[in-house]
Symmetry: C2
Subunit: 345 residues, 2 copies
Amino acid sequence: MSAAEPKPVSMFDVARRAGVSHQTVSRVVNDAPMVAAATRAKVKAAIADLGYRPNRSARTLAGGTVRSVTVFTFDTSLYGTAETLRGIEDAASAAGFTVLVSVLDPEQTYTEGDILGRLSHDGAPAIVIAHDETTHRARRILRKAQPGAVVATGDDMLLAEPDADDWLVPLDDRLVAKRATKYLLSMGHRTVHYLAMPGKARRQDGWSEALVEAGIEPHEVVRSGWTIGSAAAAAAGLVADPEVTAIMCGNDDLAFGVLHAAHHAGRSIPGDLSVIGCDDSPMAAYHVPGLTTVDLDFRGVGRSAFELLRQRLEGGPKPRPAWRSPELIVRETSGPPRQRGPHPL
Amino acid sequence: MSAAEPKPVSMFDVARRAGVSHQTVSRVVNDAPMVAAATRAKVKAAIADLGYRPNRSARTLAGGTVRSVTVFTFDTSLYGTAETLRGIEDAASAAGFTVLVSVLDPEQTYTEGDILGRLSHDGAPAIVIAHDETTHRARRILRKAQPGAVVATGDDMLLAEPDADDWLVPLDDRLVAKRATKYLLSMGHRTVHYLAMPGKARRQDGWSEALVEAGIEPHEVVRSGWTIGSAAAAAAGLVADPEVTAIMCGNDDLAFGVLHAAHHAGRSIPGDLSVIGCDDSPMAAYHVPGLTTVDLDFRGVGRSAFELLRQRLEGGPKPRPAWRSPELIVRETSGPPRQRGPHPL
DNA sequence: ATGAAAGCGCTAACAC
DNA sequence: GTGTTAGCGCTTTCAT
């Protein structure tokens, strides 16, 4: 039943087989110069014959270049984080890096040791997808311990942190929310309500800024959890109120929850109520009615975060940001408010 | 700008500080017996003072117990894989294991070396979330190379493989699809069409079995990609055909695509057309109309996969499967076919 | 262009 | 109980 696992082949085995020293093998493996073409060929043949693969632990321990990234994130099943992770993975595997994922529980409080202990070793490169309190804390701990090997993605507020340019791939959450709110206002809504997800305070800032600039006093924010269900529950009061004609939501999932609640409250979309999401998740286009939202290129952000990290690690020119800028996508859940009162004309 | 990264503290530093040998520190760190309480306390104090954290690479290299798992999967943004991954992560981090994620591109063909080279070292424990050709191939390669350290999740067809009991956490895709199809048949549909996603042949098997047992000749399967959009496109012909009264879909996302296409084709749900999904993703309950689907406990499967791996690694009693069995969840997209023909009464 | 020696931080095996 | 000695597989530095 339990097959014997053959002893793995090491650099020395290859060396013996090729009739050279293990050091020469190392040179070949690492594409170092100063190896005769003939020797190189012999070694490569031996590597192929034996099926040799370098041991990453040994390489890391010996102080070789680290080719792995640890990604700290708080929920791999949310659209935004999943896509960011995908972007990181794409870029990382193209560059021959291994990706380690370390999931942080928002409910838990981690000590410095907890966070740093998740790295394979001190100084291991890391990317933090920072979107809530716990991940922000992890970002601070990691940046403090090893500033040269940590980059993060997060909202534009982080731009205020020291040297943010060097380590941040920012998403302008404030601007995104502001633009969406302004659009709703431009359709003629008297005000826009905001359904907030945990963290992500900047989206709320953008929303209230847009209102204030238009001379409107923002209503109190309604708070939701991360799930569609919690959004549906949180929005129950909002959708029941005929005075509410426009709701902007922290993300698409929350918007779907609101839409569900609105439907069950008998409100017609967008006649009675405009709803706008954020993220442009795949469902947004295929929901009926189509969800108006803002396209956010999380995958591009992930790729950029990796490139930035690599530049920090290996030097070289600062990579230029390579993600699409956010774009409002108007579909069918938004429109002008229906005329009310006794004189529709 | 670039702060000096302090030299990491090693076991020897702790040993010196505590006035013991590095070996004693190792014993304390690994909770080995044979350490005097007083010594243990001294060492723990030194560890805390110095902020010492063990180096995983060194530990792995020195042959200590490996506390990491590499998860091979093909798309972390799909609901099923994302949830399975979450389950693995939950169980793994509770057990003090690090999770590494290795994403395989379905479009690519990997050599044995490519796959094995993604492990941190030969023999490193791995879990394969096997749901398509590429991941199945990875599973075979890994199982062959190191049978003692690889488990997989996948459909029940794998039960036919040698020793499957020892390494497989099966999801009975055949039964799930069969049950859903039977339910549709029981509502009075003359036949049920199937919209397939790539791979996952067993769901198709279950569907056709149910039909054959009912004496119905299955129609040709319609094939879709993984995205909602591809499902909507693939289902265009199906939803345009008034003879089609029931469609079972490979998963919920495909079902949403079908629903979208059906809506645009002007068909009413479930009057003209019943649609059933698979997975019970969070959206299913909040879609309007609510999607009839089958609840699959991917998170439980992930947890079980990890527990099984751990048992393989460390011995001990075989863990009993700890995931909810699939359950049909009837919501609003399914019902009896509307009476047709000239004499409704 | 190649080899030899040293050591990364840790655990295992054996001493005391 | 605790310390000592050897490596694990690799990359460095320094010879040659």
